[in-house]
């Protein structure tokens, strides 16, 4: 496949994603997940409230350290604390959500007639495992950057931005083989291993398309990731509450990014299936 064709395929997938987004019902599962994530964010933000301090404070101190329960350090470390909780939500709620969105997209807007959704008894387990694998790989990328000296990790400015971009680039590379996993479970009624195999196969045959589609949500959320780090800390030094706004905005943007990406991935899987 030529580069132009690969880029064209990516564009076509995104377009399909955007077109599919007019069906409000396809947003419902993502909205539900976002509500859960917002609830978690509020829990660790307002941990000091008497009603939730019993649950919130241990969580904040566990993920952010003892200093994280003191103002303003708490708000500066909020991204770290939330990053400790969020992966668990993404595994247990995000996996099934991705499954539900894909199913809904196929049923309602992408291919309601041509591709009836297959029944799959192991779909839930497979989606949980794919989500866990994706979260694990993302955590691995984060851990890989932990080997950098502290002086580099805490840097703002251009170097800090370059490090954040390098991390995002690596994340795209690592996650792209899993892009079509959820769609494979729904379209082909495959188990976890078969879905992963198919997803890797698609990524290897159409690497540019898959990389571009995976890069989209990562690029969209990159500004929020950057602002959650040392750069944001120095920028919002006098207004630590802005960290909460950054995280919340990031969550909202992630809904759109996730929706379009899932739609695009479904398109790619359906397209390869039709070619087979």
């Amino acid at each position: 496949m030529t580069v132009e064709r690969a880029v064209g395929a990516a564009w076509w997938s995104w377009k399909a994603g955007f077109v599919a987004s007019h069906k409000l019902s396809t947003w419902a599962p993502l909205a539900a997940t976002t509500v859960v994530r917002f609830a978690a964010l509020l829990l660790v933000t307002f941990f000091h409230r008497p009603e939730i301090v019993g649950l919130g404070r241990p969580l904040v101190e566990f993920f952010g350290g003892a200093e994280a329960s003191h103002y303003p350090e708490h708000l500066f470390r909020l991204p770290i604390v939330f990053a400790g909780i969020d992966p668990w939500i993404l595994i247990f709620v995000g996996g099934p959500t991705a499954l539900a969105v894909t199913r809904s997209l196929i049923k309602t807007s992408i291919a309601p007639d041509r591709f009836p959704v297959a029944r799959n008894r192991h779909a839930l387990l497979a989606s949980l495992l794919i989500a866990a694998l994706a979260v694990g790989l993302a955590a691995g990328v984060g851990a890989a950057f932990q080997v950098l000296p502290d002086s580099l990790q805490d840097r703002g400015g251009k170097l800090g931005l370059a490090i954040a971009m390098a991390r995002s680039g690596l994340l795209v590379l690592v996650l792209s083989p899993l892009l079509c996993g959820f769609a494979a479970i729904v379209v082909h009624a495959e188990s976890f291993l078969a879905a992963i195999q198919r997803s890797v196969r698609i990524a290897s045959t159409q690497p540019i398309t898959v990389l571009l589609v995976t890069a989209w949500p990562v690029a969209l959320t990159l500004p929020f990731d950057v602002l959650s780090g040392p750069i944001g800390r120095s920028r919002f030094e006098s207004e630590p509450e802005a960290m909460l706004v950054v995280i919340a905005s990031g969550l909202l943007v992630q809904i759109v990014a996730a929706h379009v990406t899932l739609a695009a991935a479904t398109r790619i899987v359906l397209w390869t299936a039709s070619e087979e």
């Binding site: 941990f47 000091h48 409230r49 008497p50 009603e51 939730i52 301090v53 019993g54 649950l55 404070r57 329960s69 003191h70 103002y71 303003p72 708490h74 006098s238």
Partner: protein, 502 residues
């Protein structure tokens, strides 16, 4: 009804969980978090206050002090009402920080009365963190020392010592406190109290040497030696310091505190050299050691050179100054050394060399404090050597030079000193009108800052010395009374203004 019951049963675990969470939480953490936020906001607000502090008669800064005071009050009260609260200590920490910030604000306003009031609250027993209490006591002792309140000064120093005594680390940080008690008694001027305080201090330092801390022992020895030097017991001082000095000089890779010990010993022994208690050869090895290993090379060498000069051993003193010039950073030590050399040459009536040194000060180190002092120093050298004509000529030259410097460099870090020296020179010539006008200009340079108080008071003194009319001095007194009502000088100025003949 049954359906309702089933529905309720379904939600029961959630209700139990929510009730449990609500029950186990208290508002303590919320109060602490709020306190931290309020204090942080106050600190941020302080960064935006107008500078200088007295620009708007200090209104904004006084409001900031009140804000801190209110924060401290609120959380001290909360802690008092909730003695069993798990966050009591943390809240008192917030209150202490707020009070400490209020102290700093009052200091900026030179409002010693309010500062003292805040400090009194901070050191109230069983309220605040010992670290803060020690800091507050230290600050209060400084205020008492400045006000000449010797009993309060000594009492605070004793309290600091009693708090820190159990910890070697804390004692190390405030090791000079027993010696400062001696200084306080010296300033009081009661010989019996001085002798008793010195005896107590030496005993205290002697006790410290029994603790298992080599660093503490060294520090205690250095403090004891300094006290012994003060009463001329140089032999005892040498006997105390020499064994450890010899040991360190033999160490292959000495640590930082060992190097500092050698540096300080040389400085202390320089006093002994002035008194003839040690021979110049005593310093050979320590100086070699210092030159090789220490960053603080200039200070001990300068102390020793000054000691040689004091003994009248000009040749050795000059050699030492030249060594400092050779070994050390010219920008830091050059002006000091050149100034000292000029003084030595003048003392020996070597006027040619003296002029060379003074010229060097003027050219190479222009606008440094030493260079600015040089023209007037030259006049003093001449006057001291019994050459009134030369002194008068030097004074005229000094005035011309200061005027020329003012024209060429109207503003900069040197301006304060330059104006002051020109004013002094003019006063010596009897041109008091211009000298007094320059003093007023000198005050304006720090208008609105705490330093203004000292300059106003100094100018009142100088004005009286120059026999300036009351109409000129009165506005200065009024300004002191209006801007610094919380200070000793402010109160005195107000009294003077009320009396018929200030």
């Amino acid at each position: 009804m049954k359906r309702h019951a089933e529905h309720a049963m379904k939600w029961l675990p959630c209700i139990v969980l929510a009730t449990g969470l609500a029950a186990c939480g208290s508002e303590d953490v919320s109060v602490l978090y709020g306190a931290e936020r309020v204090l942080w906001r106050a600190d941020r607000a302080q960064a935006n206050l107008p500078l200088p502090a007295l620009a708007d008669s200090g209104r904004a800064w006084r409001a900031q002090a009140t804000r801190y005071d209110r924060i401290a009050e609120t959380y001290e009260n909360w802690a008092a009402w909730n003695p069993d609260s798990p966050v009591r200590e943390d809240l008192l920490g917030v209150a202490s920080s707020a009070r400490w910030s209020a102290v700093r604000v009052h200091k900026t306003l030179a409002d010693t009365l309010s500062m003292r009031r805040e400090l009194d609250r901070l050191v109230a027993p069983e309220t605040h963190d010992p670290a803060i209490v020690v800091r507050a006591l230290r600050r209060r002792a400084d205020v008492s020392a400045a006000n000449g309140d010797f009993d309060a000064w000594v009492a605070d120093l004793r309290r600091i010592w009693s708090i820190v005594l159990p910890s070697n680390r804390w004692v190390r940080n405030v090791i000079g406190v027993p010696a400062e008690i001696v200084e306080a008694q010296l300033r009081r001027g009661d010989p019996d109290s001085v002798a008793a305080a010195r005896r107590d201090a030496l005993e205290v330092y002697d006790t410290l040497t029994t603790r298992e801390s080599v660093t503490l022992t060294r520090l205690a020895h250095l403090e004891s030696a300094s006290l012994l030097n003060d009463v001329g017991r140089f032999e005892d001082s040498v006997a105390l310091l020499k064994p450890e000095l010899d040991r360190i000089l033999r160490v292959r890779g000495p640590r930082g505190d060992e190097i500092r010990y050698v540096v300080r010993t040389v400085e202390l022994m320089a006093d002994a050299l002035s008194a003839g208690a040690v021979k110049p050869e005593f310093f050979e090895d320590p100086l070699k050691f210092i030159v090789l290993r220490s960053f603080e090379v200039g200070r001990p060498h300068a102390a020793l050179a000054d000691a040689f000069a004091e003994r009248g051993d000009d040749q050795r003193a000059l050699e030492m100054y030249r060594l400092i010039r050779r070994k050390h950073d010219d920008a830091t030590w050059g002006p000091y050394v050149t100034r000292a050399e000029a003084e030595l040459y003048a003392r020996a009536n070597r006027w040619k060399q003296n002029e060379v040194a003074i010229d060097l000060l003027r050219t190479r180190y222009a606008l440094t404090p030493e260079a600015l002092d040089a023209p007037l120093a030259l006049r003093r050298f001449r006057a001291d050597s019994g050459d009134p004509l030369g002194a008068a000529r030097a004074l005229e030259a000094a005035i011309d030079e200061y005027r020329s410097l003012r024209r060429r460099y109207p503003e900069g870090a040197h301006t304060d000193r330059l104006i002051l020296r020109l004013s002094e020179a003019l006063e010596l010539r009897g041109a008091t009108d211009e000298a007094y006008a320059l003093r007023l200009e000198w005050i304006d340079l720090v208008r609105g800052r705490a330093a203004e108080l000292e300059r106003l008071a100094e100018t009142v003194r100088v004005g009286r010395r120059m026999l300036r009319p009351d109409a000129e001095i009165r506005p200065l007194l009024e300004r002191i009374a209006a801007l610094f009502p919380g200070t000793r000088l402010g109160a005195r100025a107000a009294r003077e203004l009320q009396s018929p003949e200030p």
